[in-house]
Amino acid sequence: MSAPAGSLLAAEDLRKAYGPTVALDGAEFSIHPGEVVAVMGPSGSGKSTLLHCLAGIVPPDSGSIVYDGRELAGMNDAQRSALRRSDFGFVFQFGQLVPELTCVENVALPLRLNGTSRRQAEKAALTWMERLEVDDLSGKRPGEVSGGQGQRVAVARALVTGPRVVFADEPTGALDSLNGERVMELLTDAARSSNAAVVLVTHEARVAAYSDREIVVRDGKSRDMERVA
């Protein structure tokens, strides 16, 4: 496929079924560097499957995904894993921090996995924790911090490698309004300032209002709301 001009990540005619259940039925997507795109839709509409396909976690049954000029389908598992580690960052609904590690070790983890020394990784981690206003929690373990704080630590971890795309799946789903909004402010500010694109899956309109553009997924089909009459 030819990706839309200037897009960093684009998908066309994505199809994915789990047994008899169709999750994606011709979905399309594109995002530019520095852009925040909200993916909305009812539960079970296929929005999380779309995110997993775009991030190279789940291969689609058919269709095309092009990242930075490269077809994901043309890569093997190891190449896709390497791409996820080097170019993508992830934030999930429940932080998914490693409970045995301290917060700073959690944030430094993606850099450590890429081979960065402990000292350098933790230094970079602290810089991000400062930006996310959680540097005072560096020595605490995830079980000792609040949900909102944990989610900011998770955002710092997603951004520490300088990803070009951040995938956020219901990043505020487990937070109250105030904490959720602060996480969204910090996530979108940090991503925009480093020109990272954000794919934001959410069912909350007030969270989607932090995006530049919205895609709605219904019954596995996507609709770009900018193109609605």
Partner: protein, 174 residues
């Protein structure tokens, strides 16, 4: 919003001229809709007539005379009663959106497109408010939040209606 009660409430902290009242109102409550001078003076003369304010002094200057208003005891009681009375929740039972959807179904137009267009418009407004909230002070944040929560409620209705369109079509075209 009751402009009369709001101006009375502003007078509780001390007497003010009409111009000062307008400025205080605009600063605290009139971000989107500042008061006209005419509104201030017509409201003050009504409050004066009902004994809720009194003229505390008149300054004669080069221009028109400037009255300074003070709240009366009756005025204070009136503000207190207004503050303690809950507002009637607005239910919007006969909303334009509902009418548009039903009319679209009755005339075999694409109701889903109408809902989506409205949804896109709502989210555009929510983006503008979110941006204003991020850049504003606490007062701005609270005002924008109020509007955002209402728009969000509309949006949830739009989503729910979109999910029930087939059922609604069957009912209205029966």
């Amino acid at each position: 919003m009751s402009i009369g009660h709001t101006l009375l409430g502003l007078l509780e902290s001390g007497p003010r001229h009409g111009y000062d009242l307008k400025r205080a109102f605009d600063e605290k409550f009139g971000q989107d809709r500042p008061l006209h001078y005419g509104q201030v003076y017509s409201t003050m003369s009504r409050l004066l007539k009902h004994g809720l304010v009194e003229v505390d002094g008149i300054e004669a200057g080069g221009g028109p005379e400037r009255k300074r208003y003070a709240i009366t005891d009756a005025g204070i009681t009136d503000v207190e009663r207004w503050l303690a009375t809950p507002e009637k929740p607005e239910e919007y039972l006969q909303s334009t959106l509902y009418t548009k959807v039903v009319l679209a179904l009755l005339t075999h137009r694409n109701a889903a497109d109408i809902l989506d267009a409205q949804r896109a418009e709502h989210l555009r407004s929510m983006r503008i408010l979110t941006d204003r909230k991020r850049k504003g002070d606490l007062a701005d944040q609270l005002i924008c939040d109020h509007a955002l929560f209402h728009l969000e409620a509309d949006l949830r209705w739009l989503e729910l209606t979109a999910a029930r369109l087939d059922k609604l079509r069957a009912e209205v075209t029966r």
